[in-house]
């Protein structure tokens, strides 16, 4: 079929879904509106499949489908078309978005069944998918930015979906404003790049990118890419701007699965991979990305250990895994980054949906201290969650192992990386294993702490099908991109993903040949670390539940600090938001009320005073007036004479 028609269907079917549900937003039937929404996303999934099939058909170098609908903006030399194009990278992304998206839509039908605003919910979800597709397929940075903010808007709507509750509304607002800070940086990045390249079209910019690395920090490309990265931290919740993601759990769980695990948060990584020719030439930015990625991974993992809300643990795990992706991209392993992005989408979406079905079963109970031993009540959810767990901590045959190991290896091996980064990564991996196992033990294994009033039951089939599909994917997903060192040893299974992305990804400059022994050795170290911390966690939380209490009390201050999320929120409020608000009160009072208005009052009093003087002159006494005339004449004459 003709590409532009397909592209139109791909993009517009979620929009049509949004419009249909939007108009009938009052109607409470979940199945009907859910059906429409899922159908819309499924249609775009099918059309993306066809498009990707066409793409595969094309010769390796020229794999590109470009469709331009209309000229959006044209001011002098700045021309932007509403144009979209699919290449190898965006092919993966649209498959992930529409695929995982439709699964999550299916799941939400069951999950949001008894909510009266369900049609509105599905409308927002479809709008989100529409915006995400624009972000991914955007031909120029500006079209991407349209999707970028559109996605932020939808996450605002969905997080604050149950707006009657003040905290949930506040979480939505917080998400939007933090994203907006990132978007402001994104804007600055666009301006710098437009100033240097004269265009914002991604293809043209990649072509124009210089080949020699740019040394100085204030070089045009470094500055531009740095701003883009700050924008990415806003969207993909890295160190400075990650605060909104944990609060975003206030939204319904499928939303967290779709937006805050699979698609939106990965936008930052995707943007960097898409502009990899630019980033590869800015070593300073790459260094910054790598460091922040690694730090976030460890930092978020440490908080994840101390959280008691099931969704908060998963949220911090997402932030940590995103840290890994940025670490991969930061050291130039764009392929590994994309690979981890894909696998993470599968198992994290799986676990969020799993936690969704747990919460659904436990009647909105999210605190894992009141769960435990749900294995026997929810076998399917437990089994699928088990697969997710195994994938994320990086046990060999599963997806997580291949992608995470690739990242750890490249962070050690790549010239842009360094052993320190590998160490951070390894520690992060160990912590991930610990808190994920802790989560598994506290929710599924161990003795049941479920309160009497609640008796959990398996979620309906409508919700378990997506779980099963995602479970399979998170197992199988890893084999797509098996690192060649393992591939060779297991009878040269080709690294399909690497091979697929190769023409579009710039190779890392002066990358030395990897000796396999070192790679095996590092792989062994990281896997063993992960398994050991998993056993410790199993021991803590299943064998002797009271030991974690003892340890926690022994390092009381540190434990409290971490469990209160290093007081980062309070820090932001204290240093930025509150002073801003009080400062602007004083500012308004000082400038508007006391300064400018005061001047107007002073002038009007001056004028009134002048009037008083003139009035005093008019004493009414005749002779006073004659005196005035006399004096007037004398003064006038003296001046006339003198000059």
């Amino acid at each position: 079929m003709d590409h532009s028609l397909l592209m139109a269907i791909l993009l517009l079917s979620p929009l049509v879904g949004f419009l249909i549900n939007g108009i009938r937003y009052k109607n409470p039937t979940a199945n009907l509106s859910g059906g429409i929404a899922t159908a819309a996303v499924a249609i775009s999934f099918i059309s993306s499949l066809i498009l990707v099939a066409d793409l595969i058909g094309m010769p390796a170098e020229a794999r590109k489908i470009h469709v331009s609908f209309f000229q959006w903006m044209a001011v002098d030399s700045f021309k932007i078309n509403a144009a979209f194009y699919i290449d190898q990278i965006s092919a993966i992304m649209i498959l992930v978005i529409t695929g995982v998206g439709s699964l999550i839509h299916l799941f939400s039908i069951g999950y949001m069944h008894h909510d009266k605003g369900v049609t509105k919910y599905f409308a927002y979800l479809n709008l989100f998918v529409f915006n995400m597709l624009i972000l991914v397929l955007g031909d120029s940075l500006l079209t991407m930015f349209v999707g970028w903010e559109g996605v932020g808007l939808c996450s605002y709507l969905l997080i604050g979906f149950w707006f009657s509750d003040k905290e949930k509304a506040a979480a939505g607002m917080k998400a939007f404003i933090t994203n907006r800070v990132g978007d402001a940086a994104f804007l600055l990045g666009m301006f710098v790049l437009f100033a240097t390249f004269g265009t914002l079209n991604i293809q043209e910019m990649n072509a124009l990118a210089p080949t020699t690395a740019e040394a100085s920090w204030l070089g045009a490309i470094t500055l531009g890419t740095l701003f883009l990265f700050i924008g990415a931290t806003g969207k993909s919740a890295q160190i400075p701007l990650y605060v909104w993601l944990p609060d975003a759990m206030a939204g319904p769980t499928p939303v967290s699965a779709l937006i805050h695990a699979a698609t939106m948060v990965t936008a930052g990584v995707y943007m960097i991979v898409r502009l990899n020719p630019l980033f590869i030439v800015a070593p300073n930015t790459m260094m910054v990305i790598a460091i922040i990625g690694a730090l976030t991974a460890v930092f978020a993992a440490s908080i994840g250990i101390t959280q008691w809300d099931i969704k908060k643990v998963l949220a911090y795990s997402t932030v940590s895994q995103l840290g890994y992706m940025f670490l991969a991209v930061g050291v130039g392993a764009f392929g590994a980054g994309m690979f981890h992005l894909m696998t993470h989408a599968f198992f994290k979406a799986l676990m969020f949906l799993g936690s969704g079905s747990v919460i659904h079963a436990m009647h909105e109970e999210q605190d894992i201290r009141k769960m435990g031993g749900l294995k026997k009540y929810m076998p399917i959810t437990h089994m699928t969650f088990f697969f997710g767990w195994v994938a994320i901590i990086g046990i060999p045959p599963f997806a997580g192992f291949f992608s995470k190991d690739e990242i750890l290896w490249m962070s050690f091996h790549s010239p842009l990386g360094s052993p320190a980064l590998w160490v951070l990564g390894a520690i992060g991996a160990a912590m991930t294993a610990f808190y994920m196992t802790r989560l598994m033990c506290l929710t599924f294994w161990g003795k049941s702490r479920v309160p009497k009033s609640v008796h959990p039951h398996e979620s309906p089939t409508l919700m378990t099908i997506p779980l099963i599909v995602l479970g399979i994917l998170s197992v199988v997903g890893g084999w797509v991109g098996i690192p060649e060192v393992i591939g060779h040893s297991l009878g040269d299974i080709p690294n399909l993903l690497e091979h697929w992305l190769h023409p579009v990804i710039k190779p890392i400059p002066n990358l030395t040949e990897a000796e396999h022994s070192m790679e095996w050795m590092l792989m062994g170290v990281s896997v063993s670390l992960a398994t050991i911390s998993a056993f410790i966690a199993y021991h803590f939380y299943v064998k002797s539940p009271e030991t974690p209490e003892k340890i926690a009390n022994s390092i009381k201050p540190l434990y409290n600090l971490i469990s209160k999320k290093y007081l980062v929120d309070e820090l932001y409020f204290g240093t930025i938001i509150n002073p801003l608000i009080n400062g602007s009160k004083r500012l308004w009072m000082f400038i508007d009320v006391n300064f400018i208005d005061k001047i107007t009052y002073v002038i009007s009093d001056l004028v009134r005073g002048g009037g008083g003087v003139v009035r005093a002159l008019q004493t009414g006494n005749l002779q006073q007036y004659a005196m005035l005339i006399g004096i007037g004449i004398v003064i006038a004459l003296s001046i006339i004479i003198m000059r």
């Binding site: 009035r615 008019q618 004493t619 009414g620 006494n621 005749l622 002779q623 004659a626 006399g630």
Partner: protein, 108 residues
């Protein structure tokens, strides 16, 4: 014979000084005296001072226009006096008071 200096010979300046003096006395009369009638009189004084200066100039320039003007001034002074007195009478009838200190109602 004696030298014609300022003291002995009465020239134009003397008359001018005289009229100036008269004018100033008239002026102070208006400024200081509280009685309405006295004010009227001092206004007449000022006008007569002007007459003197007119006549002095006319004599000095020996052209007769000055003196003709004096007639005009005198007639108008008379008319003024009549009007002034008429107003003074109405004020007295109404306020029973001749001293201008009492009618300062219009002020501010």
């Amino acid at each position: 014979m004696q030298s014609t200096n300022f003291l002995t010979e009465v020239g134009l300046n003397h008359y001018l000084i005289l009229s100036a003096l008269l004018f100033v006395t008239g002026m102070t009369g208006v400024l200081l005296k509280r009685n309405i009638i006295v004010m009227l009189m001092s206004i007449e004084l000022m006008l007569n001072a002007v007459n003197i200066s007119f006549v002095a100039f006319s004599k000095y320039l020996n052209n007769v226009d000055g003196q003709i003007m004096v007639f005009f001034v005198m007639t108008i002074a008379a008319a003024e006096a009549a009007v002034g007195l008429a107003i003074a009478v109405t004020i007295f009838k109404r306020f029973k008071e001749i001293n201008i200190k009492f009618f300062e109602h219009l002020r501010g």
